[in-house]
Amino acid sequence: MSGTTLDGAALAGWIRHAAGLVAADAERLTRLDAAIGDGDHGLNLDRGFTAAVAAIGALPEGAAPSKVLIAAGRAIVSKTGGASGPLYGTALRRAGRTLADEDEADATALGAALAAALEGVQELGQADEGDKTMVDALIPAVAAYEGALAGGADLASCARAAADAAARGADATIPLRARKGRASYLGARSAGHLDPGAASTALILRALADITVGEGGWSGSS
């Protein structure tokens, strides 16, 4: 990984680091989900990302960025369970597809990949901003990334802007009333709780920002 691009190994590092953050935070994510969902978000995502790490581990040395993300996405679709599997799996697969055969993703390509991920999530789940879902973290994240990029920021700064915006977006879900997913059955009672999907999106984008500055070495041990 150079300072301004991410290769397949770097993106594999992202998946591993994200898996580590999810595993470390699984209990909190499950607790958030128990408040308004069906209480399995952390467990599901931990299982899915563990499978993703195994899948990318099985790829040949030097696999291209697209192959890494698509393999991770497929594993997540297959093994996660809940709504998160199809949603995160589709996000990663769409991101991977935009990277085509390139050996490295620069800031522009990574931004396009994140935008494609968002598009995939919205197409599949049909959620809009304000519905109290992962989209409430992902929309501001993509907007912040694109804003930073347009302002001439480098890849790491764009990724950090995205992660910060995702965290703020997740916090902003607290007062919202859910209009999608199991929480939507609770109506007004879903307000006052942070959406678990938005929380996990913020975590996964934090992992991306970490690896762009060389942090987050996930060694595979917890």
């Binding site: 679709v77 297959s78 809940g82 709504a83 599997g85 199809p86 599949l124």
Partner: protein, 127 residues
């Protein structure tokens, strides 16, 4: 004959709806359940959906029925991976849609007709 797959978070619910659909498909309709996760627990599995579709696909297409939430997302994700438009998700209530689809499929209708019948089941009133 158009095949039908019943997707549910619950294995027993998928099995039960399949039983009903087979009965109302007068023993002719090809209906398979894809309920629960791969370990038999609560949830949905794209792998079980794939397996069930393969079991009912006789070359005339397949209609998917899904209960709610991640069953729908799993169905849509499965379809995105399928080429040729031969698998359709019905925007229909699980039981009523499966029964309508099975009846129509048993009568030899094509994919579009079976799919439309499943979706029309949304309008069936009970009172």
């Amino acid at each position: 004959m158009v095949g039908i797959v019943v997707i549910s978070h619950s294995r027993t619910l998928a099995d039960g709806v399949t039983e009903m659909a087979r009965a109302l498909g007068v023993g002719k309709a090809k209906v398979e359940p894809a309920g629960g996760d791969v370990d038999g627990g609560f949830g949905t599995s794209i792998d079980l959906v794939r397996h069930a579709v393969a079991a009912v696909d006789g070359g005339d297409g397949v209609v998917l029925l899904a209960d709610l939430g991640s069953s729908v997302l799993t169905a849509k994700t499965f379809i995105e991976d399928t080429e040729g438009g031969a698998v359709l998700l019905a925007d229909a209530p699980l039981v009523e849609g499966a029964v309508a689809a099975a009846s129509m499929a048993a009568a030899g209708a094509d994919l579009a007709t079976v799919h439309a019948a499943a979706e029309a089941a949304r309008e069936h009133r009970k009172t």
